[in-house]
């Protein structure tokens, strides 16, 4: 399978890339890891006139932590970098749990977190993770940079909030105010298949009391689902069997799964319920041990 013809440019600076986007006038696509875009080009679901390869832009392959605890992931940071990250392993359990579950090991060598957010596939793991963490995307256009909360960044299936002349240069996870806990679980028929269902949970606690919670769902709706009511059920008290069960029930209710070859809607809802319970129960048990 060949993509249809396109003009190819490989700029060396963000400014040059933005100028090319402006030239493209909405008929251009940015190429980062390419693990979703190249298949789309080959299947001719996408046939841009201009393909702007950003892999040569310098200084975007980072992931780092600010002194205050803010985590920043550059547009060319690959999934494999996050999978092997000491920063995430020690500071960010939801992201650390998700990184090894994205696609397969070979795809993870190329694909990027920021690209995954931009692609806005309802099956994308990172959109759920960053949603649960209350993160945002930094977009750069001709007039400078702006922050877009990820809940507003993903506007629908395969749709994002970038203007045609903007580049998503960075994803940002805000500094936690309390102790961080959480996880990510995904059911897939085999490695690399789309998720039957996935659940991201991120909480912060002050002492035992949950001060912030985020729960987001992968693959059980036409876009990433931010289960805000489920998350609210956790805030203001310590984790307990009751609050966990309540959050799990509300998350299952927030899911909008469809029956397909991966399972029935009822089955997928049950997975969501089980995964929320499982992640939170593990958090509760490990904090009991630590306490």
């Amino acid at each position: 399978m060949y993509p249809s013809r396109f003009r190819y440019e490989a700029p060396r600076s963000i400014e040059e890339a933005i100028a090319l986007l402006q030239q493209g006038g909405g008929e251009a696509k940015l190429l980062a890891g390419g693990q979703s875009l190249v298949p789309l080009l080959k299947l001719r679901f996408a046939s841009p006139e201009l393909l702007i390869d950003i892999n040569n832009l310098p200084g975007l392959d980072y992931h780092k932590v600010d002194p205050d605890g803010t985590i920043r992931i550059g547009a060319l940071c690959r999934h494999a970098d996050l999978e092997r990250s000491a920063i995430l392993a020690s500071r960010q359990p939801t992201m650390a749990a998700a990184a090894p579950l994205v696609a397969d090991p070979i795809v993870r060598n190329r694909g990027t977190l920021v690209g995954s957010l931009c692609h806005a596939d309802p099956q994308g793991d990172w959109a759920s993770v960053v949603t649960a963490l209350g993160g945002h995307v930094v977009a750069q256009g001709p007039n400078g940079r702006r922050k877009i909360p990820v809940s507003q960044f993903v506007t629908g299936p395969f749709q994002n909030a970038l203007a045609y002349d903007e580049i998503a240069v960075e994803a940002v996870i805000p500094a936690p105010k309390g102790t961080v806990a959480g996880g990510y679980l995904k059911l897939e028929r085999r490695v690399g298949d789309f998720a039957t269902a996935g659940v991201a949970v991120a909480i912060e606690r002050s002492g035992a009391v949950v001060t912030r919670a985020g729960i987001a769902l992968t693959g059980v709706g036409s876009a990433t689902i931010d289960a805000t009511e489920a998350a609210k059920a956790l805030v203001g008290s310590p984790l307990s069997a009751e609050t966990i069960a309540q959050a799990a029930e509300l998350a299952a209710g927030a899911a909008q799964p469809r029956t397909d070859h991966r399972g029935s809607a009822a089955y997928k809802r049950q997975i969501v319920r089980t995964f929320v319970e499982r992640i939170l129960t593990r958090v509760e048990q490990s904090s009991e041990k630590a306490g």
Partner: protein, 176 residues
């Protein structure tokens, strides 16, 4: 030669924009004039006649087209040839030495790690990257590293054994 690529000997047709790329393939610098939409897998197979790189699913699932790109396994059906400009690519043809098989190839031979052989080049290159990062993997780690490569014949048992065999051999070699 016609079509989407030609090794550089003459000027390409004027009406189709092409780019000159210079790629180090198995240690040799290769220069080609390619259309930007040409996939790396096709440049390797048809342009450079390195047909050990197989294309299976064409949709980033199967891993038969796996090559090493600057030492890391990638699916060459999911990268444009122009993206490899200035980079190093290792295909299965680059595994063996002048007279000896690579220990990974020996392992696949000794442990019957293949039946039809279609997935084998990709399996061996993914295994090579694993053993460079982790010379003494567990069986689980081998399975994990190869989980992006599909085999429809073997049930994976002998593939895992082959990689474990190669790991032992390579450790013995580096110890001696």
């Amino acid at each position: 030669m016609s079509g989407l690529f030609e090794e550089i000997h003459e000027q390409p047709a004027a009406d189709v924009p092409t780019r000159r790329v210079s790629i180090t393939v198995n240690g040799d610098k290769r220069v080609a004039q390619v259309e930007p939409r040409l996939l790396l897998a096709h440049l390797l197979r048809q342009g450079l006649k390195l047909t050990g790189t197989h294309t299976g699913c064409d949709t980033t699932n199967c891993g038969a087209c796996t090559v090493l790109f600057d030492g890391k396994p990638i699916k060459s059906c999911t990268m444009l040839a122009v993206q490899a400009d200035g980079h190093e690519v290792t295909t299965v043809e680059g595994l063996a030495g002048a007279s000896e098989l690579h220990p990974i190839q020996e392992g696949f031979k000794d442990e019957h790690g293949l039946q039809c052989g279609f997935c084998t080049p990709g399996m061996m290159l993914a295994a090579k990257a694993l053993l460079e990062e982790n010379p003494d993997p567990t069986e689980d780690e081998v399975r994990w590293a190869l989980s992006g490569n599909l085999c429809r014949c073997t049930g994976y048992q002998n593939i895992v054994k082959s990689v474990m065999w190669a790991a032992k051999k390579m450790q013995a070699q580096s110890a001696s």
